[in-house]
C-alpha cells in the first residue's frame, strides 16, 4: 500500500460519515424504525470499510499523523497506527452489533433522540482513539461524555435524574482535571502530540499535576476506584443499550487514555524513574477487588454487571501500569475480550429486563426454561468471565499473570485469581438458577412477548461467538494484534 506518500483521508471521512448519519437520523425522526437502523448500520459499515483496509499498512508498523488546520490554535489531528485502528475497528464492530440490538429494543419513548445520540457517541468514541494529540482527543472525549448524559437520563424518572446528575458532575470534574493537565503538559513540553517514548522529559510538580489530572479524567471514565461512583447508579437507571454502549466502548476510551499517556506523553522511562504508575496500579488492584466484592453483594442484575465492569476495567489498567510487555498484551487483549463477554451479559440482561421486567437476581430462578437461548448465551459468557480455557478471558488473564511474574509481583497474579473466584461466585449462580433447581413460577406468567426480536437475538449470538471463537481457532488474530501493539510500545 502506498499510504506512506499520500495523506490518508479515511479517519476524517469515517467520523464525518458517522456524524452526518446521526444528524440525518434526527431529521427523518420517528418515521421509520427500520430506516433508522438501516442508516446507522450503513454509516457504521461504511466507516468499517474505510478503516479496515488500513490494517495491513498499520500492521507493517507504519504510522501517519494527519493534521487539519481547523480549530485553532492547534488544529485537529488524527494518527493512524495499529493501536488506534484496531480499537476503532473494535468500536465500530461492536457499535454495529449494538445498532441492531437497539433497533429491536423496546424503548418506551424518545427513540429518535436515543438513536441520534447513540450514533453520535459512537462517532466520538472512534474520534477519541483516532485522535492524534491531546487536544483533539479532548474534543472528542468531551463530546462523547456530555452526549452520553442524554442516554443515561433517557427514562426521565426521579431516580434517573439523580443518577444522571452524579454522572454529569463527575464528568465535568474530570474535564476540569483534563484541562489542567493539558495546560501543565503544554507548559512543560511545548507540544501536545503523541510521541514514542513520551514528550515529558523530567518529573516535577507540573508533570505530577499533569499525571494526576489525566489519571482522574481517564480513570473516571474507566470506572477506576474511587472515581467509579457514577457507574452503578447510571447502569441501574439507563436503558440496556446505553449501558452496553458505555461498557463495551466508552469505558474502553478511559483505559485507552491511560495507555496513551503512559507511553506517549510521559513515557515508561520517566514513569519507571518516578514510580507514579504504581499509584495507578494500586488503584487498579483496589478496583478489581472492590468491584468484584460489590458485584457479589448486590442482588440487582444490572448493578452487578456494573460493579463487575469496575473490576474488569481494573484488569486492563493493571495490564497497562505493570509496564511489562506480557501484561500490556493481556491488557490490550482484555479490551476486546471484555467487550465480547460483558457485551453478551449486558445484552442478555437487557433482554431479560425487557421481557420480564425483573432485575432482581432472586426472581430469575428457572428463567432458562422461558428464555433458553438468552440464558445459554449468558451461561457461556459467564464461564468466559470466570476465565475457563480456551475462552477469551483466560487468554488475557494468562498474559496478565505472566506480566505480573515478569514484574516480580506474584501477588498481583493472586489478586487476579481471587477476582476470578469472585467472578465465579457472582455469575455462575445466575446461570445455574436459570436452569436447575427451584423455579420462580411467578415469572412464567408475566412475559411481554414470546420470542426475542431477531435484531436482539442476532446481536447476542454474534457477541457470544466472539467470546468463544478466538480461543478455538488455530490463529488468534486479536492476540497477534495485541502482541504487535505491545511490540510497538516496548521497542
Amino acid at each position: 500500500m502506498d499510504g506512506l506518500t499520500t495523506v490518508l483521508w479515511q479517519p476524517a471521512v469515517s467520523i464525518i460519515v458517522l456524524l452526518t448519519a446521526s444528524l440525518f437520523i434526527w431529521v427523518i425522526g420517528e418515521k421509520g424504525e427500520k430506516a433508522v437502523t438501516a442508516i446507522s448500520a450503513s454509516a457504521i459499515t461504511a466507516a468499517l470499510l474505510f478503516l479496515a483496509p488500513l490494517s495491513p499498512y498499520v500492521l507493517a508498523g507504519h504510522v501517519q499523523v494527519i493534521r487539519y488546520s481547523i480549530l485553532p490554535p492547534f488544529g485537529l489531528s488524527f494518527r493512524v497506527e495499529l493501536l488506534s485502528i484496531s480499537l476503532a475497528l473494535l468500536f465500530l464492530f461492536t457499535g454495529l452489533v449494538l445498532t441492531f440490538y437497539t433497533g429491536a429494543y423496546p424503548l418506551e419513548s424518545g427513540k429518535r433522540r436515543f438513536r441520534t445520540v447513540f450514533l453520535f457517541v459512537l462517532a466520538c468514541s472512534v474520534g477519541v482513539v483516532l485522535a492524534g494529540d491531546l487536544l483533539s482527543l479532548f474534543l472528542f472525549f468531551e463530546a462523547m461524555s456530555l452526549s452520553f448524559f442524554i442516554l443515561v437520563i433517557h427514562n426521565r424518572e426521579q431516580e434517573t435524574i439523580s443518577a444522571t446528575f452524579k454522572f454529569l458532575y463527575m464528568t465535568i470534574g474530570g474535564s476540569v482535571m483534563y484541562f489542567i493537565a493539558l495546560a501543565a503538559v503544554f507548559n512543560q513540553a511545548g507540544e501536545l502530540a503523541w510521541r514514542d517514548g513520551g514528550i515529558m522529559t523530567a518529573g516535577g510538580p507540573y508533570t505530577l499535576l499533569a499525571f494526576i489530572g489525566f489519571v482522574v479524567a481517564f480513570g473516571m471514565k474507566a470506572g477506576m476506584f474511587p472515581l467509579h461512583l457514577w457507574m452503578p447508579d447510571a447502569y441501574g437507571q439507563a436503558p440496556a443499550p446505553a449501558v452496553t454502549l458505555s461498557s463495551m466502548i466508552m469505558l474502553k476510551t478511559g483505559a485507552y487514555g491511560i495507555l496513551r499517556i503512559t507511553h506517549h506523553i510521559f513515557g515508561i522511562d520517566l514513569l519507571r524513574d518516578v514510580s507514579w504508575h504504581n499509584y495507578v496500579l494500586v488503584l487498579a488492584v483496589i478496583s478489581i477487588l472492590y468491584g468484584s466484592s460489590c458485584a457479589f453483594a448486590t442482588r440487582d442484575l444490572m448493578r452487578r454487571l456494573a460493579y463487575s465492569g469496575i473490576a474488569q476495567l481494573g484488569y486492563i489498567t493493571l495490564g497497562i501500569t505493570m509496564l511489562t510487555p506480557d501484561a500490556l498484551t493481556g491488557g490490550v487483549y482484555h479490551i476486546m475480550a471484555h467487550a465480547m463477554m460483558k457485551g453478551t451479559l449486558l445484552l442478555c440482561a437487557g433482554a431479560i429486563l425487557a421481557k420480564t421486567g425483573k432485575r432482581n437476581i432472586d426472581d430469575l430462578a428457572g428463567i432458562g426454561w422461558k428464555m433458553p437461548f438468552t440464558m445459554i448465551c449468558f451461561s457461556i459468557a459467564a464461564l468466559t468471565a470466570v476465565g475457563l480455557p480456551p475462552m477469551n478471558i483466560f487468554i488475557s488473564k494468562w498474559h496478565l499473570g505472566l506480566g505480573a511474574l515478569d514484574a516480580g509481583q506474584p501477588l498481583l497474579l493472586v489478586v487476579l485469581l481471587i477476582s476470578s473466584m469472585l467472578n465465579a461466585a457472582y455469575y455462575l449462580p445466575i446461570a445455574i438458577a436459570a436452569f436447575f433447581g427451584e423455579r420462580n413460577h411467578d415469572l412464567h406468567e408475566k412475559l411481554s412477548w414470546d420470542r426475542l426480536p431477531l435484531g436482539m437475538s442476532l446481536s447476542i449470538v454474534v457477541l457470544t461467538v466472539g467470546c468463544l471463537a478466538f480461543g478455538l481457532g488455530q490463529i488468534n488474530i486479536p492476540l497477534q494484534w495485541a502482541r504487535a501493539i505491545t511490540a510497538g510500545f516496548f521497542y
Partner: protein
C-alpha cells in the same frame, strides 16, 4: 498408532454430540450411542496397551487451539494405564446406567454429560502438557457438576455448588502453578526427571499445584466436596467420581512431582514431607469419619478419602516401590469402590434404603449384589491375595525401606478401621433377620440384568486378578514405576 491418543479423546466428545442431537426421544438410541461411544473408547485404550513397554511419548500429529493454549495429544505408559482403567469403569457405569437411570428425568442430558466427562478424562491423561491437562480438567469440572446436580433437589444443588466452587478454586490454584511454571521454565510439557529449579516462587507454585490437584483428589483438608457430592450424584456417577474422578488429582500430582519438578526439587523444598503428613492425616481422618456415617454412600465417600490417602502416601515416599504401590492401588481402588457404589445404587433403586442401619437382611433379598459387596469389602480390608493387599504390602515395604516404620502402623490402623466399617454391613445383610421375619433367599429378579452383571463383573475383577498368571496389572504398574526411576 500415533493417531490413537487423539481418537480416544475425540470419540467420546463426538458421541456426546450425537447423543445431544439424536438421543432426545428414543431410549434405545441413547443406549446404543452411549454403549458404542464408551466401548470404542475402551477398545482404543486397549489397543494402546503395547505403549506400556515403550519409553517416552507417542504423539498424535496435529495441534489444536491457538497459543498460549495450544494442545496436542499423546500418550506414555502412565497415560495408557490411567486411560484403560478410566474407560473400563465408564463402560461398566454406562451399562449399569441403562437400568439405573431409565426412570429418571433428563436422561439425554445424563448420557451426554457422561460421554463428555469420559472425553475430558481421556483428555486429561492423554495430553503431553500441563496446558492440555488444565483445559480438560476444567471441562471435566463443569460437566461433572451438572451430573452431581442431576436430581436437582435441594440437597443435590447444595452438594453441587460445593463441588463446583471447590473445583473452580482448585482450577485457579493450578492456573497459578501453570503460569509460574511457564514463566520460570518457558515450557509446560512432561519430561521424566523434571525441569523446575528450587526457589521460593517455584515452591509456591508447587504447593498451589498440591492444593489444586488435592481438591480433585479429595485430600484432607480440601476434601470437603467429596462426602457431599458422592451421596448426591446418581450412583453410577458416584462410582466414577470415586473410581476415576479423584484419581485425576493423583495423576496430576504424579506428573507435577516426577515430570515437571523432579524428585530433587521436590525434596529441596520439603514438599514430600508435607505431602506425607497430609497423606497420613487423610488416611486416618477418612477412616475415622467413615466409621461414624450411617448414610451408606457417605460412608463409602469417606472411605474414598482414606483410600486416596494410601495413594498419596505412595506418591510422597518418592521411591520406586512406593510409587508402584500407589499406582496399583489406583487400579484396585477403582474396581473396589466402583463395585461398592454400584451395589449402593442397586440397593437404593430396589429398596429405597440409604442408611446402613436399614440394611438388615438385605443379603437375602439381593444376594448377588450383597455378595459383590462382600467381595469388594474383603478386598478393601486388604486380605491376601486380593488386589488391595498387594498395594498395601508394597506400601508397607516401601515405608520400611525409607525408614518410616510408623507408617506401617498407620496402614494397619486404617485397615482395621476398614474392617470395622465394612464388615458389619456384610454381617447384618446376611446374618441378621429382618425384624424377626426370616426372609427367604431369592436369586434372580433383584434388579435389571445390566446392573446386576456389571456389578458382579467388577466384584469378580477385584478378586479375580489374584488367580490369573501372569498378573498383568502388577506388571504394568511396576513397569511404569520403574520408568520414573531410571
Amino acid at each position: 498408532m500415533n493417531y490413537l491418543p487423539m481418537a480416544a479423546v475425540l470419540t467420546p466428545f463426538a458421541f456426546a454430540l450425537l447423543m445431544a442431537v439424536l438421543g432426545r426421544d428414543r431410549s434405545y438410541v441413547r443406549n446404543i450411542l452411549a454403549l458404542t461411544g464408551s466401548f470404542i473408547t475402551f477398545l482404543i485404550t486397549l489397543v494402546m496397551l503395547p505403549l506400556l513397554r515403550t519409553d517416552g511419548w507417542i504423539y498424535s500429529s496435529g495441534k489444536f487451539l491457538s497459543s498460549p493454549i495450544t494442545i496436542s495429544f499423546g500418550a506414555d505408559s502412565l497415560s495408557v494405564f490411567f486411560a484403560v482403567i478410566f474407560s473400563f469403569c465408564y463402560l461398566m457405569a454406562i451399562i449399569y446406567s441403562f437400568g439405573y437411570i431409565a426412570h429418571s428425568h433428563a436422561i439425554n442430558r445424563y448420557y451426554t454429560l457422561m460421554l463428555i466427562t469420559l472425553g475430558a478424562m481421556m483428555g486429561i491423561v492423554l495430553t503431553p502438557s500441563l496446558v492440555g491437562l488444565f483445559l480438560f480438567f476444567e471441562v471435566y469440572a463443569v460437566a461433572a457438576y451438572l451430573l452431581v446436580i442431576h436430581e436437582e433437589d435441594e440437597f443435590a444443588m447444595a452438594a453441587g455448588a460445593l463441588f463446583l466452587y471447590t473445583a473452580v478454586a482448585g482450577g485457579l490454584f493450578i492456573f497459578f502453578g501453570l503460569a509460574t511454571t511457564y514463566f520460570m521454565a518457558g515450557r509446560v510439557d512432561f519430561f521424566h526427571g523434571g525441569y523446575m529449579s528450587a526457589n521460593p516462587l517455584s515452591a509456591a507454585a508447587l504447593f498451589a499445584f498440591l492444593i489444586g490437584f488435592g481438591v480433585k483428589a479429595g485430600m484432607f483438608p480440601v476434601h470437603i466436596w467429596l462426602p457431599e457430592a458422592h451421596p448426591a450424584a446418581p450412583a453410577p456417577f458416584s462410582a466414577l467420581l470415586s473410581g476415576c474422578g479423584i484419581k485425576v488429582g493423583i495423576y496430576g500430582l504424579i506428573r507435577i512431582i516426577f515430570d515437571v519438578y523432579g524428585t530433587e526439587t521436590v525434596r529441596a523444598v520439603s514438599f514430600d514431607k508435607v505431602l506425607l503428613i497430609l497423606a497420613v492425616v487423610t488416611i486416618l481422618f477418612g477412616s475415622a469419619l467413615a466409621l461414624q456415617q450411617d448414610h451408606l454412600k457417605r460412608r463409602l465417600a469417606y472411605s474414598s478419602v482414606a483410600q486416596i490417602g494410601y495413594v498419596l502416601l505412595g506418591v510422597a515416599l518418592l521411591n520406586e516401590r512406593a510409587l508402584f504401590g500407589a499406582l496399583f492401588h489406583i487400579f484396585s481402588h477403582a474396581l473396589m469402590k466402583g463395585t461398592l457404589f454400584l451395589c449402593a445404587g442397586a440397593i437404593i433403586t430396589q429398596t429405597g434404603k440409604k442408611y446402613v442401619s436399614e440394611l438388615k437382611g438385605i443379603g437375602r433379598e439381593m444376594p448377588v449384589i450383597m455378595l459383590s459387596f462382600t467381595l469388594a469389602a474383603i478386598t478393601m480390608v486388604g486380605i491376601p491375595p486380593f488386589n488391595a493387599f498387594i498395594s498395601k504390602w508394597h506400601l508397607a515395604l516401601a515405608s520400611l525401606e525409607s525408614g518410616q516404620a510408623i507408617l506401617v502402623a498407620v496402614l494397619m490402623v486404617s485397615s482395621l478401621l476398614n474392617a470395622l466399617y465394612y464388615f458389619p454391613i456384610v454381617i447384618k445383610a446376611f446374618l441378621s433377620d429382618k425384624g424377626g421375619v426370616e426372609v427367604p433367599l431369592s436369586f434372580g429378579g433383584e434388579i435389571s440384568s445390566g446392573m446386576l452383571w456389571t456389578t458382579a463383573l467388577m466384584a469378580l475383577l477385584c478378586v479375580g486378578f489374584a488367580f490369573i498368571q501372569p498378573h498383568w496389572p502388577v506388571m504394568m504398574a511396576s513397569d511404569i514405576a520403574s520408568s520414573f526411576f531410571k
